[in-house]
Subunit: 191 residues, 2 copies
DNA sequence: CCTACCGATCGGTAGG
DNA sequence: CCTACCGATCGGTAGG
């Protein structure tokens, strides 16, 4: 991807995140880019192309993060803390993409939609496995791992709705707070 | 609201939840209702009218629930358990509306949007107050109540994304699991 | 990246 | 609730 394409993609995303993919027209995007609507098509194949680049771009980052965590860390608590930290970092560093990715992936169609939900399932499975590891290690309560994984991901993903880059919490602090909260819900009380 | 209007609204919602408000056309809705697009306008003033009825219908239910909880219950743990239970019940009993309400409220415009976000803030404030009550009572950790309220609401709201009415978890079980999880994150370890 | 343009579809109205 | 219809806007293409 050329620098110019990256630039145009980033600007497009900043427009799309405002009203959402479906409610944003190609003309809205072109206007913000100060070009004619038709010119957009020399960069993108279609409107959905922008959505695909956005959603799969994010999915790839998350995929990489969980692989890294599984390669390096050994116990479940470390793994969970680390994957939450990376997840929060990815979200906060790519806020526009993240908002589109989380809110609008459902607008993908056909095989793109299938591929995306498959990737999402793999990522969620990664979380379930970490929870399962913690149960096996005897440090997490014997909980419903599916439920736990969904609850973890929902609280983590929701930060895109309220995170402000110039607010009083940075990514690291958010990750710490979330990890502490989540781990207190998972860990056995070692008294 | 007449029974016929309620019926038409419910059917419209079942269509809107599929692709989302912005990506669903008036013609899509009319087709599912087996009527002409123009006929919809004898029931609704506009497409957005349907969205408004949906979002404010849900907001009213949540408003009522938290009032009830604050009227009846005294301590923070009881209150939190109860409001989570009612919240989950409202979501699961009105799944179509809930999905639209959570995903598509941003498509409201003008004063509707303002009124809605105001109502949402009041509800979130209710959660913050319950957390604060728990801190004052000395049973919750002295936590960031804003952060806590957002984390609670996100994990609760996310259930609309995976809840299946004929699945193996009913509303009560979900509420119990969530409450236990959330309270373990909030409560001081009384050892 | 632009000019010029396309057919399709959009939300909605008039009048019955 | 329907017929008939509207202007506006949609995503996108041809050709340069």
């Amino acid at each position: 991807m050329t620098d110019r394409k990256k630039e145009i993609l980033a600007l497009s995303q900043s427009v799309l995140k405002e009203k959402g993919y479906a409610a944003t027209s190609v003309r809205d995007i072109a206007k913000a880019l100060e070009m004619e609507p038709a010119s957009l098509y020399s960069h993108f194949k279609s409107k959905e192309d922008i959505l695909q680049l956005t959603c799969f771009g994010m999915a790839d980052k998350f995929e990489l993060a969980i692989k890294e965590v599984n390669d390096i860390y050994f116990n479940a608590e470390e793994k969970l803390r680390m994957v939450i930290k990376l997840h929060v970092e990815i979200l906060t560093r790519n806020l526009d993409s993240s908002l589109i990715f989380i809110r609008d992936w459902r607008n993908l169609t056909g095989t793109s939609l299938e591929k995306f939900t498959a990737k999402r399932n793999v990522y969620e499975e990664g979380f379930r496995e970490i929870v399962q590891t913690g149960i096996n290690e005897g440090i997490f309560n014997d909980t419903d791992k599916k439920f736990a994984a969904l609850t973890i991901l929902s609280s983590v993903n929701w930060i895109v709705e309220w995170y402000q880059p110039d607010g009083n919490l940075d990514a690291k602090q958010i990750a710490d707070k979330l990890s502490t909260f989540i781990l207190s819900g998972l860990k056995k009380q070692t008294v």
